[in-house]
């Protein structure tokens, strides 16, 4: 039935694509020449947000879009860039790499200046070749080292890579806290694999090996076997490399099996979705490595959180902040380069030094701009800075 579902999804997607193509056919010629050449100085600048709006990772997609839209709205309110308005278009990649590549081709043919997203490393990796050949700069929220391995000059990260997240985490857990008996549970998706390799490398660096190294699938529901094995090795801390919902389910089941050791992980383990899926009591004490712990850290994050609250009646969090930073960097680069496109815009992004919510961005040749995270602990259902 999975094939039926995906084929029916494909059917639905292709019919939507057909309709869009038909609608775009009338307006495409003028649109394309305007934004790709930058010739018409009054046409809006088109920026795409590609993120899951449906499926298990849609929470990420919704947060990302809100962050990106907030940045664009603020710039438009100030008159746009060189008198031109910025138009943000949202595409739903469903967290699926195949859908992502279809969208990449669409962006290439419709004259988008830049792309924000995606939140899933796997989708970004799939979209990269198409975006690279179309010369569309892309600021992704993915963090897998796989993204930068391609040395694609058009891809940038709006946060640190898994290597940075896990180096900080290992330093705190092993060096500062002295917890040397570490069990690992990660999933076999792009994100989980990146976390697995990065954290294992940190353990090896210290001459340690995990008490057990459990790998689960991305859509697994029952973790009894993996968790019982972990329990038998009696670890002091369990490293978890999985997205919000699955990580929440793992922790919930672990507690019911009597595992009392704290869990440690990267950004997903600091989100409200993780905490509510696990249950606040079960998530208590989770050690989180994240570049954005909460909205109270700086004056800048406070004003971002206030604007976010005013616009969406919701509390801002990491993913919105990352997308806000990424979008602000693209807009700053567009302003500095007087609305350049293609390679020139990519160079302008690389040259942009930006003081963001996550820290000071200064991009290297691989497209990474941030090289530090902070350590937070989940306390009473909230992420707080570790003392």
């Amino acid at each position: 039935m999975h094939t039926t579902r995906s084929s029916r999804t494909t059917l639905a997607v292709s019919s939507v694509v057909l309709c869009l193509a038909a609608a775009a056919a009338c307006s495409a010629p003028s649109d394309k020449s305007n934004s790709s050449s930058g010739g018409d100085s009054s046409a809006p600048i088109k920026i795409a947000v590609v993120d899951a709006q449906s499926g298990e990772n849609s929470a990420l997609g919704a947060w990302e879009y809100k962050g990106a839209k907030l940045a664009v709205d603020q710039w438009n309110a100030k008159g746009g860039i060189d008198g031109r308005k910025i138009q943000l278009h949202l595409f739903d990649d469903k967290g699926d790499p195949t859908t992502g590549t279809n969208i990449a081709s669409k962006l290439a043919s419709q004259g988008y200046a830049a792309m924000i997203g995606t939140a899933e490393s796997g989708v970004t990796v799939a979209m990269e070749p198409t975006l690279q050949s179309a010369q569309i700069p892309n600021i992704t929220s993915g963090q897998s080292p796989q993204i930068i391995a391609s040395k694609d000059p058009f891809v940038f990260l709006n946060g640190p890579t898994s290597t940075t997240y896990d180096a900080t985490l290992a330093k705190y857990v092993i060096d500062t806290k002295g917890l040397k008996k570490v069990a690992m549970i990660t999933n076999n998706g792009s994100y989980g694999k990146g976390e697995h390799d990065a954290f294992l490398a940190e353990l090896k660096k210290r001459g340690l090996s995990p008490t057990t190294d459990q790998v689960v699938t991305t859509n697994q529901i029952d973790f009894s076997a993996a968790l019982t094995t972990i329990k038998k090795t009696n670890p002091q801390v369990v490293f978890i490399g999985s997205e919000e919902v699955e990580a929440g389910l793992i922790v919930k089941q672990a507690r019911s099996l009597g595992i009392t050791a704290p869990f440690a992980g990267a950004a997903p383990q600091g989100t409200p979705v993780y905490i509510s899926t696990a249950g606040a009591a079960h998530a208590e004490g989770t050690i989180v490595s994240s570049p954005y712990l909460n909205n109270e850290a700086t004056a800048q994050s406070k004003s971002f959180a206030a604007a976010y609250q005013a616009a969406y009646k919701q509390t801002a969090e990491l993913h919105g902040a990352k997308a806000y930073d990424g979008t602000s960097i693209v807009l700053t680069a567009l302003k500095n380069s007087h609305v350049a496109t293609g390679k020139k815009l990519a160079d302008a992004i690389r040259a942009t030094n930006y003081q963001g919510l996550l820290g000071n961005f200064s991009f290297d040749a691989t497209g990474v701009g941030i090289f530090a995270t902070k350590i937070g602990i989940v306390k009473s259902g909230q992420l707080a800075a570790a003392s």
Binding site: S54, A59, V216, T217, I221, T228, G248
Partner: protein, 289 residues
Amino acid sequence: MQVFLQTLVGGLSLGAVYALVALGFALVYRTMGLVNFAHADVLMIGAYVASTFTMSEHLPFAVAVVAAMVITGLIGLVIERMLRPLEGKDFDLMLIGTIGFGIVLEALATLIWGATGRAVPSPVDTPPLHLLGASIPTYDLVVVGVAIVAMIALTLFLERTRRGIAMQAVAMDYDAASAAGINVGRSNAIAFSIGAGLAALAGALVGPLLYVSPSMGGSIGIDGFAAAILGGFGSIPGAVIGGVVIGLLSSFSAGHFHGYSDLVTFLVFAVLVMIRPTGLFGERTVSRA
């Protein structure tokens, strides 16, 4: 030993969930000869409705479950009514119709509750029981119990009541059943709404175990469908046994093959179906779909 026992417990409670899903597939197939591909999406609606009643309206869990079953039962009636013009004409079209309804339900859920989904707190808070070093979550026992009761109730309904026997007759021979004075339309409507109610029951029960989102039907639907096929499609006890087998297969292959567990589970499934094409309790009385 401890790992084996715990995996067994995990597999059995997972199996109970799949069994409940498979029961709905099996009922509609047995009484109409139709595979209802909207089943997993009705399950998702049931999970949302039940969790809305418990979380926002603070109704007791049992009341919320019954309310969810009634509401999805009505949705089942609507689906059947809209597909009725196709009954007795072209079952393939009806099959496609159910796929369409599935997509509509998923889109509706996204409109009403948003795409993000929600975590549902467990309605049973008592600590897990311990047996020979394995821990058994009390809520899992509830799920297993409900699955068994549902199986027995369905079997009694189909085999011991006039209505149930008439409904099975419809699937065996549409024309003969109408000639014998059975109201085929009504019979199908009842089948669809009981099937939808079962889906809601499964959805309401898995909500607290998993995460409720518009796309949650996807993987549960596949496994539940596989369970129904494995048990012998249309067989009520078969659906339950099939569910338990798929649940145990998933849990044990997860323990042994880690990242490749899905591959192994469905390879074993494929081999089992090749050996016994009619499933474990195969009695394919229906040849219409």
